[in-house]
């Protein structure tokens, strides 16, 4: 039973958070939108002039944009495919009773807590390095020419690194969801002669659908912004072979000092993310009602 007094108190308690988040959302984003319509280079201060939609035009028309967009989608899609399929398989496996469940669980979750710069550099040097990496040592041991992962398959290598970081997240969430599955229903199905494929398709998968959707959407939000892994492994190269949208914006604005063009790219990234966010918000909003 809320009184008038407690309502006023509640409003006062919420307002600092609301004001801060409102400022955080509106001020920098407003500035980005403003800059995106300016001819503005950090090397030529005081020369800003109105550019209309030129920045958008040049940003979208450059060949690097198309490849960055494709790379962004490949990165998101590739990591999602590995983590969701792998996560379901791992969650099913870890859900079985076996000795040392707790220890294995801890080992599987661990990569999620490794900071992006560490995981990227460790994979780059200790594993993928064509001379001293473990993969190179294995290749030499079996008499195969070592493969230079980051020069010849830069995007695939980055997908592998990022997937390693996110596989634990998918596994953990799907495992949590799996544990709330009705065991008696599963046993009843087993007794009725349903084999494991049928049990998986008709009982497990429908039960997991919601969690899979959540995993896909949340990971997409984070994967659209992958940056550190690219910065420390390939710097977006060779050429633009591993440049994604965030990295392109970074390169344009802070390496080439083109504030206007970078801002236009930033706005395009925001629009792309919002399309995904729209669906995620609807999912979470529905959940709030129950």
């Amino acid at each position: 039973m809320a009184t008038e007094q407690s309502r006023t108190a509640a409003r006062l308690m919420v307002s600092p958070a609301v004001i801060l988040l409102f400022l955080w959302m509106i001020v920098p984003l407003g500035m980005t939108i403003y800059f995106s319509f300016l001819r503005y280079n950090l090397l030529m201060p005081g020369m800003e002039s109105w550019a209309g939609f030129d920045n958008y035009y040049y940003f979208l028309a450059q060949p690097a944009f198309t490849s960055a967009l494709i790379n962004t989608l490949l990165l998101v899609g590739g990591v999602l495919l590995i983590t969701v399929v792998g996560g379901i398989a791992l969650a099913l496996l870890l859900d079985q009773p076996f000795k040392g469940q707790g220890v294995v669980r801890v080992m599987v979750i661990a990569p999620f807590f490794v900071m992006p710069t560490v995981s990227a550099l460790v994979w780059k040097n200790m594993f993928m390095n064509p001379v001293n990496g473990i993969f190179a040592h294995i290749a030499k041991a079996i008499g195969v020419q070592p493969f230079d992962f980051l020069s010849h398959a830069p995007l695939a290598s980055i997908i592998l690194i990022v997937a390693w970081s996110w596989l634990p997240f998918a596994t953990l969430i799907l495992l949590t969801a799996l544990q709330s599955l009705d065991r008696e229903q599963m046993e009843a199905a087993e007794m009725d002669g349903a084999n494991w494929i049928n049990r998986f398709v008709y009982l497990v998968l429908p039960h997991l659908t919601r969690s899979i959707t959540v995993v896909v959407l949340i990971q997409t939000i984070f994967l659209l912004s992958v940056f550190a892994e690219i910065l420390v492994t390939t710097n977006g190269g060779p050429g633009t072979a591993s440049t994604n949208l965030p990295y392109l914006v970074y390169a344009q604005s802070l390496l080439n000092f083109d504030v206007g063009g970078g801002s236009a790219g930033g706005i395009i990234a925001v629009i792309l993310a919002n399309i995904v966010a729209f669906f995620l918000m609807r999912m979470i909003g529905k959940n709030l009602e129950t």
């Binding site: 308690m13 920098p28 076996f98 599987v108 560490v118 914006v249």
Partner: protein, 276 residues
């Protein structure tokens, strides 16, 4: 009711699970092993690495190469500072929304969440210029503010889902017994809210510690946390595997330990309560 399993099936599951678990964990295990090797041994083949001698030399080297302690301290300050600041702002807000819900509470929560959906790169340019103009580049205070703001929606959401689970009847009972708003918060709510606040604190420290966009963009040296320090190893200088391993081991160890304690909260926090 226990499921019936044959010994053979259990054996297969055990072997498969341990093998896969070990493979996933292996890169972490490997840097821990390499951190105790000399630079010369660290680049040898895996078998030679395992049979070579052990040393603590790299850990000493890391500190001489650059001020490791400073970067570690920066990580501590940034993650703790931004977490505490976020909690101070979020606890009253989440409390009010959970216990005095209004017509627009749900919309407000969704709007807060939507601020988290904005990709960082969308505001990179203005943030960089604002930081430059206010002299905040490479300062801890500026980064604490940014980290607080980017994690605030998650903190509010997590606290809200925890507070929501505190039964409202308890509050009414306390009010019947004549408890005022102050004693209601102090003696009834706080004890029940502490576990939720602790989990939120833990998860947020982890997220802030590993944040690697703003920390890389807005710091260079003095305020650089471990994410930025480790990134400095991306341009190799001679033999550096053992040093990189030692620096990495120290950078991830505290969070690995915290993380293992917070598995459950992680699911809840990162899915905004959609999966519990």
């Amino acid at each position: 009711m226990a499921r019936k399993t044959t010994p053979a099936k259990t054996a297969v599951v055990t072997i498969a699970a341990w093998t896969i678990g070990f493979l996933i964990f292996f890169p972490i295990l490997w840097i821990i092993i390499l951190s105790f090797k000399t630079e010369g041994d660290a680049i040898k083949s895996p078998l030679q690495v395992l049979t070579s001698g052990w040393t603590l030399h790299s850990y000493a080297e890391v500190q001489t190469r650059s001020n490791y302690a400073l970067h570690f301290w920066n990580s501590v300050i940034l993650s703790l500072g931004s977490t505490v600041l976020a909690l101070v702002i979020a606890i009253p807000a989440a409390w009010a929304m959970a216990f005095v819900p209004g017509k627009r509470t749900k919309d407000l929560l969704m709007w807060m969440l939507s601020t988290k959906m904005m990709p960082a790169v969308g505001v990179l340019v203005p943030m960089y210029l604002l930081f430059r103009d206010f002299g905040l580049l490479d300062s801890r205070i500026g980064l604490v503010v940014v980290l607080t703001l980017i994690n605030l929606p998650i903190v509010i959401w997590m606290l809200y889902t925890y507070f929501k689970e505190i039964p409202g009847e308890i509050l009414e009972a306390a009010r019947m017994d004549g408890a005022g708003l102050k004693s209601e918060i102090l003696y009834v709510l706080t004890p029940m809210a502490v576990p939720g606040i602790a989990s939120t604190l833990l998860l947020n420290i982890i997220l802030a510690w590993n944040e690697a966009f703003w920390t890389l963009q807005l710091t260079t040296k003095n305020a650089a946390p471990l994410t930025q320090f480790i990134a400095s190893y991306s341009s190799p200088e001679g033999l550096f595997y053992a040093k990189l391993s030692a620096a990495s081991t120290m950078a991830i160890a505290p969070i690995l330990i915290l993380g293992w304690f917070s598995q459950k909260q992680l699911v809840r926090g990162l899915t905004f309560g959609a999966v519990k």
